[in-house]
C-alpha cells in the first residue's frame, strides 16, 4: 500500500501512526538498511527461528517487515501475544493455517512454558514455520537486534522532523535517557516535539 498525505500545519512525526511496527524500514544497529530478503531466505521450511533483542530494539518492526516480505510467496500469519491466555486463540489460528505456512509471533516469552511447547507442537503438526521475537535466545537466532545512538539518529532523520524543533542533542539525550530503548526514546521525542511547538508548560501526567 502506498500512502500520500496532504495536510496543514506541523504534524508530530513521532506519533504512533508513524512509528508503529511496519512503518519504519528495518535498520541494523548502525542505522544501515537490513536486507529483509536475505533474512527471509534463512527461514527454514518446518523450522523455528527467533529475532532476539532487548525492549525497543526493533524486533517487532523487523518481524513486520519480514512477514510482509515472506507473504509474497507464502501464507503468513502474524500475531502479537500479550498474555498467556492468548494461547488458545493462537493455537486455533495456527491449526487453521495451510501446510507450509509461516506463523510470525511477536512476544514468544509471553506464551509461557506450556504455551510455547503447545505452539511448537501444533506448528510442527501443521508443517508450519515459526518466526518469533524474544528477549533472550530460545533457539536458532535469525537476527540479533541492537541499538546505537546512530540508529536512533537515522530513524529520526527518516521520520523527518524539523531540525529546528528536534536537534541532534535531543536525540542523543533521549537515547541515553532510555538506555538504548529506541521505542521509548521516540515517544520521549514525541513529548519534546509537542512541548517545543506549543511552548507549553510541563503538564500534569497521571
Amino acid at each position: 500500500m502506498t500512502v500520500q498525505w496532504i495536510g496543514r500545519g506541523a504534524r508530530n512525526p513521532f506519533a504512533t501512526r508513524f512509528i508503529r511496527p511496519g512503518m519504519i524500514p528495518p535498520l541494523d544497529a548502525e542505522g544501515h538498511p537490513v536486507s529483509v530478503a536475505a533474512l527471509a531466505a534463512r527461514v527454514p521450511h518446518g523450522g523455528f527461528m527467533a529475532l532476539v533483542g532487548p525492549h525497543g530494539s526493533g524486533k517487532s518492526n523487523l518481524l513486520a517487515a519480514l512477514a510482509a516480505h515472506l507473504a509474497q510467496d507464502a501464507v503468513v500469519m502474524q500475531s502479537r501475544v500479550r498474555r498467556a491466555r492468548d494461547v488458545p486463540g493462537l493455537l486455533a489460528r495456527i491449526a487453521r493455517l495451510p501446510v507450509a505456512a509461516i506463523a510470525c509471533i511477536d512476544g514468544w516469552e509471553r506464551l509461557g512454558a506450556l504455551g510455547r511447547v503447545a505452539v511448537r507442537v501444533v506448528a510442527r503438526c501443521r508443517g508450519c514455520d515459526l518466526v518469533v521475537t524474544a528477549h533472550r535466545p530460545c533457539g536458532p537466532v535469525l537476527a540479533r537486534c541492537m541499538t546505537t545512538p546512530s540508529l536512533l539518529a537515522r530513524v529520526v532523520a527518516m521520520l523527518g522532523p524539523d531540525d529546528a524543533v528536534i536537534g541532534h542533542d535531543d536525540v542523543t539525550a533521549a537515547y541515553a535517557r532510555h538506555a538504548g530503548n529506541v521505542r521509548e526514546a521516540l515517544l520521549d521525542l514525541y513529548d519534546l516535539f509537542e512541548q517545543r511547538i506549543r511552548g507549553s508548560a510541563a503538564g500534569v501526567r497521571t
Partner: protein, 448 residues
C-alpha cells in the same frame, strides 16, 4: 446489524500482504464447519427428529391388549475395551391395524438410558391382560408405540450441535466475505449483510448521532438532593476496599482450614512440621491483609463521603452550571479543593507491551477551602457556579483514545493520607447552529 464473532482476529493481530491466501484459508475452515453442520443436521433429522415427528403425526391410534412385558438390553463397547449396558422396558401387545391382527413388541422413544432396576420398575405400568392405547405405523403396521409426545432434549440436541456449527461457519464465511480484498475504511464502514449485498446503498455511518461522544445515561440516573443530578464517583478507593476485603476473607479462610488440620494433628499427638512451617508465612500474609483492609475501611469511614450535584447534564462548552459539593466526615480537613479537568488518555500496544498514558490538558481550580472543621452530624456543603470553557474539546472516547472531562476533589485530612475523588462528566460539542453561523463567514471555494 453486527454479526456475532466467536473468535477470530484478536486486537493486535493482523494479516500481512497475502490477505487473499489468508482469507482463502479462513473461508475453507468455515466452509468445512458449514458442511459438518449440514451433515450433523441431516443425520439428527433423519435418525431422531423425523421418526419422532412421524410417531406424533402419521401413526394411527388403536387399542392394545398387553400380552407380556420384558426388558431390552443393549451393550456397547465405548471406549474400546470398556463395555456399558443400558436397559429399556418393552411390552408385547396384540392389536388390530389395517383390518388385521398383529402381535409385536412395542418400540420406545429415545435412547435406552435406564438402569436395569429403573427399567424393571416401569413394567407394572402395563399389567398383563390390560388394554392400553397404542399407535401403529401405517407404513409398517408391525411397528407399534405405547407413548407419544416430544422429548425436548431431542430437539435441543438436533438444533444445538448442527445449529452451532452452521452459525459458526456461516458467520465466519460472511465475515471473510466482508473482509475479502477490502480496505480499512470499507471494513470500518460496513455494518452487516445489507452492506455485503450492496455497500454503495448504505446510509452514512453515524448519521444523526454524535460519533465518538460517550453516552450520558449512567451519569443522569441519580437525582440530587439540592440540584438536579448527583454525579457518580469514579474512584479506585471502593474497588481497593472490596479487593482487600475479598483477599483477606479468602486467604484467611484457607489459613483457618490449614490451622484446624494442624490443630487436630497436634491434638492427636502428631506434629506435621512442614505444615506448621507453611502456616507461619501464611498467617503473616493473612494478618497483613486484615490490617490493610481495616486501615482502608477506617480511611473510608473517617474521611467521609464526597458528593457532587449538578444543575444539568450533559454540559456544553461555554455553559454555566450550578454545582454543589458536599463533604461528610469528622475532624479537621487541612485542605479541600474542587477542580475541573480535561484529561487525554492514549493506549498504545508497543511491541509486546501495552502502554496507557494520561495527560491533563485543562486543570481549572473551582474553589478551595482550608482548615475545614467537619461535624459528623451535619455535612459540609458549598454551592458554586462552574463555567465550561468555550472552544474546548467535547468528551470523546474510542477504543484506544479518550478525552475526558471530570470534576476532581482533592482533600488532605489531618492524621489520614490525602485523597483524590473523581466525578466524570460528559461535555457535548458546542451548539451546532452557532458553529454553522460562525463558519458561514469563512471564505468558500467553488467545486464544479
Amino acid at each position: 446489524m453486527r454479526l456475532p464473532r466467536f473468535f477470530g482476529k484478536k486486537r493486535g493481530e493482523r494479516r500481512t500482504g497475502s490477505q487473499r491466501w489468508g482469507s482463502f484459508g479462513e473461508a475453507a475452515f468455515h466452509g468445512a464447519l458449514v458442511c459438518a453442520g449440514v451433515v450433523f443436521a441431516t443425520l439428527l433429522a433423519s435418525g431422531v427428529a423425523v421418526p419422532e415427528w412421524r410417531i406424533n403425526h402419521d401413526f394411527q391410534p388403536t387399542r392394545c391388549l398387553v400380552r407380556g412385558t420384558g426388558l431390552v438390553r443393549r451393550t456397547v463397547e465405548d471406549p474400546p475395551g470398556s463395555f456399558s449396558t443400558t436397559w429399556r422396558p418393552t411390552v408385547l401387545v396384540r392389536y388390530e391395524a389395517e383390518g388385521r391382527q398383529f402381535e409385536s413388541w412395542s418400540h420406545s422413544r429415545g435412547p435406552a438410558s435406564f438402569g436395569r432396576a429403573t427399567a424393571a420398575a416401569r413394567l407394572p405400568s402395563w399389567p398383563i391382560g390390560s388394554e392400553v392405547p397404542g399407535w401403529y405405523d401405517p407404513a409398517d403396521p408391525e411397528t407399534i408405540v405405547l407413548e407419544r409426545g416430544y422429548n425436548w432434549w431431542t430437539w435441543l440436541l438436533a438444533l444445538l450441535l448442527p445449529g452451532a456449527l452452521l452459525g459458526f461457519g456461516m458467520t465466519g464465511l460472511v465475515r471473510t466475505a466482508r473482509r475479502w480484498g477490502r480496505s480499512e475504511e470499507a471494513i470500518a464502514a460496513s455494518t452487516g449483510l445489507v452492506d455485503l449485498l450492496d455497500p454503495s446503498r448504505r446510509p452514512p455511518a453515524g448519521a444523526g448521532v454524535m460519533p465518538g461522544v460517550p453516552a450520558c445515561d449512567d451519569l443522569v440516573n441519580s437525582p440530587g438532593t439540592v440540584l438536579r443530578y448527583r454525579l457518580p464517583i469514579e474512584s479506585a478507593d471502593t474497588w481497593t476496599l472490596f479487593g482487600l476485603g475479598l483477599f483477606a476473607v479468602l486467604w484467611n479462610a484457607v489459613l483457618a482450614v490449614l490451622a484446624v488440620g494442624a490443630g487436630l494433628d497436634l491434638a492427636g499427638g502428631r506434629i506435621d512440621w512442614l505444615l506448621i512451617a507453611l502456616l507461619i508465612p501464611f498467617a503473616a500474609i493473612g494478618c497483613t491483609g486484615v490490617v490493610l483492609f481495616v486501615r482502608q475501611l477506617f480511611l473510608a469511614a473517617a474521611v467521609g463521603t464526597t458528593q457532587i450535584e449538578i444543575s444539568d447534564h450533559p454540559l456544553r462548552p461555554g455553559g454555566r452550571y450550578d454545582v454543589l459539593l458536599a463533604q461528610s466526615g469528622a475532624g479537621t480537613m487541612h485542605d479541600l479543593g474542587l477542580s475541573l479537568e480535561l484529561e487525554e488518555q492514549a493506549t498504545f500496544h508497543q511491541g509486546t507491551d501495552t502502554r496507557t498514558e494520561s495527560l491533563v490538558v485543562i486543570q481549572r481550580p473551582v474553589r478551595a477551602w482550608g482548615l475545614l472543621q467537619l461535624d459528623p452530624t451535619s455535612r459540609f456543603e458549598e454551592r458554586m457556579t462552574v463555567e465550561i470553557p468555550v472552544d474546548t474539546m467535547h468528551s470523546f472516547v474510542t477504543e484506544h483514545n479518550a478525552v475526558r472531562w471530570r470534576f476532581v476533589v482533592r482533600g488532605k485530612p489531618s492524621r489520614w493520607p490525602a485523597f483524590v475523588r473523581v466525578f466524570p462528566i460528559i461535555v457535548h460539542p458546542r451548539d451546532t447552529a452557532r458553529q454553522t453561523a460562525d463558519a458561514e463567514s469563512a471564505p468558500t471555494g467553488t467545486v464544479a
